[in-house]
Symmetry: C2
Subunit: 111 residues, 2 copies
DNA sequence: AACAACTAGTTTGCGCTGCAAACCAGCTTT
DNA sequence: AAAGCTGGTTTGCAGCGCAAACTAGTTGTT
């Protein structure tokens, strides 16, 4: 029961599909640049930009802007906090599902 | 890459934490009543009511109202469509994660 | 040199949605 | 008979995600 209640406390910041994809991707590489994430997720530049801004504000990602030759480049990586957060998030999702699977297939009432 | 794009096509109706919890719960029992779902999820009656209304509108759950003695009782179960939808949703989440895990831990660029 | 088109993003505006709070109807206890 | 349960529904608004518009600089093209 209690494991289920946790799902309603899931961090919306991480659970939003676009950001879940971004964070999951970042958790499996050292870093990625803006354009890579854009083609990975299929998001528009605008959406990606604002999602990244939110993740940065929350302290979950580091965003480093530089120039590669003459061309601006935005490199994104997880902070330690971000790494922990996305790991924890997937753990909660797993727990919810496996917890439900332990049920007997009966009719559930409140009493 | 393509598996990742799917995440941005995740059904928002199902992905919302409260509804994900409701649907996952229902997928592991024959049916459940309103009060059971409320204590399971910790949602207020108001929220639960409107979430269920949306799921019903979408044809994902059946809602049967009756009286148990003198007390009204609302019983909720998945439709076949609902059963398929939640199963498919979890499958997509799994695919995203496992796909990311296959990556080499390098720096990802667009080129 | 001037102009169009492209790269790499950011900002803005609005429609939708989830949530809390208010409300409703009937039952029950005092 | 009134206060307080149970079992919900409706309402209002704040916040969010998205598309479109915009910014800033680079690379052809003529």
């Amino acid at each position: 029961m209690s494991l289920f209640r946790e799902i309603t406390e899931l961090d919306k910041l991480l659970h939003e599909p676009a950001r879940l994809a971004i964070m999951t991707a970042l958790s499996n590489c050292e870093s990625a640049d803006f354009t890579f994430l854009q083609s990975l997720t299929g998001l528009s530049k605008g959406n990606l930009s604002s999602h990244l801004a939110k993740l940065e504000e929350a302290g979950l990602v580091n965003i480093i802007k530089s120039f590669v030759g003459k061309i601006p480049n935005t490199n994104i990586s997880l902070t330690e906090e971000g790494t922990n957060a996305i790991e924890e998030h997937w753990k909660r999702l797993d727990e919810m599902r496996t917890n439900a699977r332990l049920w007997k297939p009966e009719i559930k009432t409140a009493t």
